[in-house]
Symmetry: C2
Subunit: 416 residues, 2 copies
């Protein structure tokens, strides 16, 4: 599976090398470079051409340099930055001197209303997440191999935003804190039945069963993840209470006390919201049922960038709160009880992932090649920047059938 | 002012009396009554005609009786319940035997998908709130006289949903807890400047200045409320820090650390959302600014009922969360940080108001007449039922400029 999943990457790196042959810097190149430089001037990121020259004014110390290694890349940055930035970074035709994270964050923090170009780059530089309802898409990302994710996720393999209740928490502690927060928000009680849509490697399902005594049906279309989760359930003696089902969650039947989904909605796509609403409507007990959706979102509707769609997340779309409220919850007859925006926690989560990724860089490179490694580094840096700057949001939404009482009298019960 | 405000009510009650002359109950009346009875059968509310007969089947004990005193009322209940229910209750042509609150709650809890009739009644039976941006409308409701509201609100005259952090709290304690919660959510610090849109009798503005050391500009179009608030500020020695301005909040100028509005959005109307967005955009500091909107809302868009519009709240519209997110916050460049649905707290608040209103019934009746008193009783009972059953929601939304950090790292800071 890994071999299929990385088919879009040039594992040898020779492609990039071949294109690095230097050409003369013409007047046209300098003009193009000055336009690109102008559009990102406010970020204090310096453009450097393949002859070492730069249109950057020396009045400020740059955050870092974008090193453009050929004309094709320069032309791409000017005319189609959405795709060109990621593609060129991946192959090495675009280099970053200085901290990749800092350069990407400076670019992401630019006010897009003053720069159409950056608006398009930003959409290029965002994106994490978990399981999908479209089998083919999920495989591309999630079947890269458990080994790959074990290199840089926490030991439970939780591939969604963590919750640093205390900022000093480690990644593993913050992931446990998140799982626990989700259970508290759902007010899980021993004996409750829970439907989980998109369960990743099973960490939440096992946490709910182990620490809250509930029975879980957890759906996932990724075979490798389901196999891993089942093994873990058996080892922990929880296989009697957690059923991992290799199938689309839309095929779930029965009535449940709670519904939960972490990091799946981004992969569902607007066109499938009515199907999700139908699942909620028929699966949640009308009296006493409650649910939680945890997803990457936006302030305003915007499609996902072409480079991320091509290289990282085929078919993904981060919705606005309004799209979820009107597209999923209202048609399902649900009331919104609570919305929590954890974007700063996601930025911190991704910084922790990036640190671990950097530590495992040689192993990743050995196995998947240089282009793949650089693509993932850019994806992580861009995602971190997007959450840090408010370009992307992370919503946890608690809901319940409108005729049912909300799960808690007040949040003091969750935090007090 | 009270005399103008009650011009729509017949203060003598003779109108109602005149119409109570009993007529023969014809076969047509019995047929109409059976249709009305069928449509509310699931609520176990009994219809009784003016000859004492009823189409209600005796198999269950009714929650209470709707006593229909003439044909005109029966016809109205069948053909135009939205307006007829409230109008007839007000005049006494429709009586309720048993607990008004329980009967109204039973009717409100009916599943509207099984009863178009009840869907229309429900919209008739909902509604509290505070100050408005449309001067004329505000006067109708809020200039009924401070004396009137002092009869049944808490001693601070807070006319919005309270927060019963502890269920045993009195109304006054819960109102203080709400004011405090709002300040905590806004992370107010000494020296901050705050813009309040629609400040009622000034309780929040004074609380913010007194307990959090901030400077407040508070707008209100109701002269009687502003006069009351200014007097109170002077008595408490807070007039140097709180400025009560008798004007539309849209005329506010300057930049503020925080924006807050309790119970005004319901009166703004969808058509004025762009104006509110513009105020937020120009008034909130882009770096470190934050805001809170507290408003009555709905799960799905729905106009306010004709009876409430005629008798209680001209021009009001309770929006969905999506309408506020897309109509106000997104155009203002704001991110949603947090949404809290306090509908059960509002149901409890209104029960407390109703208890106090019942205790002051004779005084209200003496001053405003029987029709007015009955209209307000129905309005309170209907509103309580609407929040108790999930027909109406109470949202507190915290937001901040998207390029700014959210006001807190996590809610533990509010509740911990």
């Amino acid at each position: 599976m890994p071999s299929a999943s990385v088919r879009n990457f040039d594992r040898t790196g020779t492609h990039g090398q071949r294109r690095l042959a230097l050409a003369h810097v013409a007047a046209l190149d300098r003009w193009m470079a000055s336009l690109v430089q102008q559009s990102i001037a406010a970020a204090s990121v310096r453009i450097e051409l393949w002859d070492g020259t730069s249109p950057f004014s020396a009045s400020r110390v740059p955050v870092g340099d974008l090193v453009v290694r050929n004309r094709r890349t320069l032309f791409g940055l000017l005319t189609n930055p959405e795709l060109a930035f990621g593609e060129a970074y991946m192959t090495g035709e675009l280099g970053v001197r200085g901290s990749l994270e800092e350069v990407v964050e400076a670019l992401t923090a630019l006010n897009t209303t003053t720069s159409i170009w950056m608006g398009r780059i930003k959409t290029a530089l965002a994106w994490p997440n978990t399981v999908t309802s479209a089998k083919r898409n999920a495989h591309r990302h999630y079947d890269l191999g458990n080994d790959f994710y074990q290199l840089w996720l926490d030991e439970q393999l939780v591939y969604t935003c963590a919750y640093y209740a205390d900022r000093a928490m480690t990644l593993a502690q913050a992931q446990r804190a998140k799982l626990d927060l989700v259970c508290r928000k759902l007010m899980l009680r021993a004996g409750d039945t829970v439907l989980e849509a998109g369960c990743g490697w099973g960490a939440l399902a096992l946490h709910m069963a182990r620490d809250f005594g509930v029975r879980v049906k957890a759906f996932n279309v990724s075979r490798e993840q389901v196999t891993f989760a089942r093994d873990r359930a058996r080892r922990e003696g929880l296989d009697g209470r957690v059923e991992f089902i290799e199938d689309d969650y839309r095929n779930a039947s029965g009535r449940f006390d709670a519904f939960v989904s972490l990091g799946m909605l981004e992969h569902v796509g607007l066109h499938s919201y009515p199907a999700l609403a139908a699942v909620l409507r028929r699966s949640l007990k009308r009296d006493g049922g409650r649910g939680l959706l945890h997803f990457i979102g936006r302030d305003v509707p915007q499609p996902l960038n072409a480079w991320i769609r091509r290289r990282i997340f085929p078919g993904a779309y981060p919705p606005t709160l309004a799209e979820v409220a009107m597209g999923v919850l209202a048609p399902a007859g649900m009331s919104v009880n609570d919305v929590d925006n954890l974007r700063l926690h996601y930025a911190k989560t991704i910084r922790d992932w990036s640190d671990r990724f950097a530590g495992a860089r040689d192993q990743v490179r050995e196995k998947f090649g240089d282009e793949f490694t650089r693509a993932w580094e850019l994806y992580l840096a861009g995602s971190q920047a997007a959450f840090a700057t408010g370009w992307m949001q992370l919503f946890q939404v608690v809901f319940s059938p409108k005729e049912s009482a909300p799960p808690v009298w007040s949040r003091e019960e969750w935090y007090g």
